[in-house]
């Protein structure tokens, strides 16, 4: 009973210290909530195939023929792009000026002779019928998306023209020309690979943002925890606790248990924001996966390693400023490296391998196993074990440092 009383009063003390520290509340709860909101909404269209048109494309129809009109009408239905007609006779300089003035990402020129090129026999050589001006700020990936879409529409137009030219031959052969012209939709069927093979919602920005910024904020526990620990040392509270026969194990446990719960509260709040708050602002609702056990396991593992790292930094640092700087910088490096700020799949190969060094990457992959891949506890076990091992090493080092300080 006495042990339980000690634990309860320790929990109460740590919760009061956290909730009465505006900076700690900001770092642990406000910062990740804001990040999740911003990133979920900012990246909504990047992940959402049904999102609104966001990329402007100026179009200049120098051909003016029927095929050019048909082509422009066809590309007008492309998702994620908005085509706006510009002056037919505009000089290239004027077009460039307009693009840069409006920060328009693309300008598409349908050259003279476009219709002739469409009607010509396939394989003909000559000037390209389309010209694409690209704003240098546009990523190569986005440019490739637009080019692919334009080429596909042009190919369809050529196919239709070719079928029309065959006309009587097709009739004589008993082939329905109209059926050849029908667009059967995309020939590629997309299925998301999930752990259980079950159905899952299309990955959305919120599915990516919540785990990423949740892991990031859980590791930011280093700031309040190390500050409390260093204050205890500087103010002599740690000395007083030692004089009260409070063991090193109890000292460490007295930090771990309250902060495990604080991390747990973070997990619940961030998931709640993803599920209920993000949709209020037009984002997609978070689907928290099917495995509460898996979620609890990976959350506990991330929390354990974050707290152990915080204790290690706190035992090394002499001042709160040192701990804040070391902890903050280390977190940002772990975050940048571990795919929090930039998803690892867009990183080059060697960076993806480097990302494996970051415990945040292990935590993120574990959460993605649950949130995105519909996995369970077994699926996030490898990441959880890695985090557990990392935390154990940090704790062992902390215990050694504390013992040396006592003996010193």
């Amino acid at each position: 009973m006495a042990a339980m009383s000690k634990l309860l009063y320790t929990l109460k003390k740590e919760f009061l210290l956290i909730t009465r520290d505006v900076h700690a509340v900001a770092v642990l709860f406000v910062m990740p909530a804001v990040f999740i909101m911003i990133m979920s909404l900012a990246m909504r269209d990047l992940f959402d195939s049904h999102g609104g048109v966001t990329i402007d494309v100026l179009t200049v129809n120098r051909d003016g023929g029927k095929d050019a009109e048909t082509f422009l009408k066809a590309i007008g239905g492309l998702p994620a792009f908005r085509f706006r007609a510009f002056e037919r006779d505009a000089a290239p300089e004027r077009l460039r000026e307009r693009m840069l003035a409006e920060d328009t990402k693309f300008a598409l020129i349908v050259r003279e002779g476009f219709s002739a090129a469409v009607e010509a026999a396939p394989g003909g050589k000559g000037e390209a019928p389309l010209e694409l001006l690209v704003n240098p700020a546009v990523t190569v990936q986005t440019q490739m998306v637009l080019r692919g879409a334009l080429e596909a529409k042009l190919a369809m137009l050529r196919r239709d023209a070719f079928v029309a030219r065959l006309g009587d031959i097709l009739v004589a052969a008993g082939i329905d020309g109209e059926s050849l012209r029908k667009d059967g939709g995309s020939p590629v069927a997309v299925t998301y690979a999930t752990r259980g093979g079950g159905s899952v919602k299309v990955p959305s920005a919120v599915q990516q943002s919540v785990p990423a910024w949740l892991v990031f904020s859980m590791f930011f526990i280093v700031i309040p925890l190390s500050n409390t620990f260093i204050s205890e040392r500087a103010q002599g509270t740690l000395m007083r606790l030692k004089s009260m026969n409070v063991s090193r194990v109890a000292l460490i446990a007295g930090k771990m248990v309250p902060y495990l719960l604080i991390n747990g509260v973070q997990v619940l709040i961030m998931i709640a924001i993803g599920v209920w708050v993000v949709p209020l602002f037009g984002g997609t609702a978070l689907t928290p996966g099917r495995s509460p056990a898996g979620l609890a396991l990976i959350a506990a593992a991330v929390s354990f390693s974050a707290i152990a790292l915080a204790l290690f930094i706190a035992s090394l640092a002499r001042t709160s400023e040192q701990a804040t700087t070391i902890g903050g910088v280390l977190n940002i490096i772990f975050g940048a490296l571990g795919g929090i700020m930039v998803p690892t799949f867009v990183m080059p190969r060697f960076m993806q391998e480097l990302a494996n060094l970051s415990p945040m990457a292990w935590g993120l992959q574990g959460f993605l196993d649950i949130f995105l891949r519909d996995g369970g506890a077994a699926d996030c076990l490898p990441e959880s074990l890695a985090l557990g091992l990392f935390g154990t090493v940090m704790l062992a080092l902390t215990a050694v440092i504390l013992r040396r300080q006592r003996e010193g």
Binding site: Y9, K13, G236, M239, E407
Partner: protein, 307 residues
């Protein structure tokens, strides 16, 4: 109550405590004086089980500190020089937290909390955050936390640093009251010699890690309260003859005559001995030599930094 034998401690090869031996009687108040860096805090932190000793023996209540630190720590309380609590908590929350770590709970915890609030005279602001307290209020809380476990021994490291006169007097009165009514043994370090003089039963002076004086307060003050006869040159025979008289002491080539009930008799004896040995008196210094003067003499007057 506390027996310290040949205690030594070094930091990075530099001795901080050097063969310290000291005894503190049960229910007494030992005032431990020493300049900065003398080893006072290190001695207290070893007694409190916070810092490990290098050599020597410490027994508290008959128990060996090296073998049974836990049992000893439960009967002691250490009040560090720094304000060792949580400023963002209220006084009551601090007291309850530290009390719970002593294993107190329920009615007992509430009772001890109320007692400590009362002793610290903090009833009016017990539920206010400590970071709004004045320096004196914080010092009283620092002491009050140390009383939560009803300690038999109280280690106080400069408990009145930076407080106003009222709080200082209150703290000193509280210590005296605890000693008088609860028979609490107190080891008390301070830079304020008048405090030591006010509350202590015994005084020890530590310098450069060594105990240079340890005696009952009255005996120490008696040494301090004397008339000084400065003489040209004092031979060994004359010194020996003088010191045969109780109340006459030879120190640094001068003759000290205690101002007690035999003062007149001793003064006459001193002049007689000096006359018999043909030694002239060059100066007579009357007046009370304060504890501070004695302290400075024992520990040297140069500046000390470090502790």
């Amino acid at each position: 109550m506390i027996e310290i034998k040949h205690l030594s401690k070094s930091y990075e090869g530099k001795p901080v405590l050097d063969n310290v031996s000291l005894t503190v009687k049960r229910a007494s108040i030992l005032g431990l004086l020493g300049p900065n860096g003398a080893g006072k805090t290190t001695l207290l932190s070893i007694l409190a089980g916070v810092t490990a000793k290098d050599a020597g023996e410490v027994k508290v209540g008959g128990l060996d500190l090296g073998r049974e630190p836990g049992r000893i720590q439960r009967m002691c309380s250490y009040v560090p020089q720094s304000l060792a609590f949580y400023p963002r908590l209220s006084a009551r929350e601090n007291l309850e937290y530290f009390g719970s770590l002593w294993g107190l709970r329920g009615a007992k915890l509430r009772e001890r909390t109320a007692f400590s609030i009362d002793v610290g005279s903090m009833a009016a602001f017990a539920d206010k955050r400590v970071d709004t307290f004045s320096g004196g209020m914080k010092r009283r809380l620092n002491l009050a936390i140390g009383l939560m476990n009803e300690p038999e021994i109280l280690y106080l490291d400069e408990p009145t640093v930076g407080v106003d006169t009222q709080s200082r007097n209150y703290i000193l009165a509280t210590i005296a009251q605890l000693n008088r009514e609860r028979k609490t043994t107190v080891v008390y370090t301070s830079h304020y010699l008048d405090e030591i003089e006010q509350v202590s039963d015994e005084i020890a002076v530590i310098d450069a890690g060594r105990i240079v004086l340890h005696d009952a307060k009255e005996a120490v003050l008696l040494r301090a309260d004397a008339v000084l006869l400065r003489v040209a040159k004092l031979g060994k025979d004359a010194a020996a003859a003088l010191e045969r008289h109780q109340g006459i002491r030879v120190e640094a080539g001068s003759v000290h005559v205690k101002r007690d009930e035999r003062f007149g008799e001793n003064m006459a004896a001193a002049f007689t001995v000096l006359s018999e040995h043909g030694i002239g008196v060059t100066d007579i210094v009357f007046g009370r030599r304060t504890l501070e003067e004695l302290f400075l003499k024992l520990t040297d007057v140069r500046l000390r930094d470090g502790e």
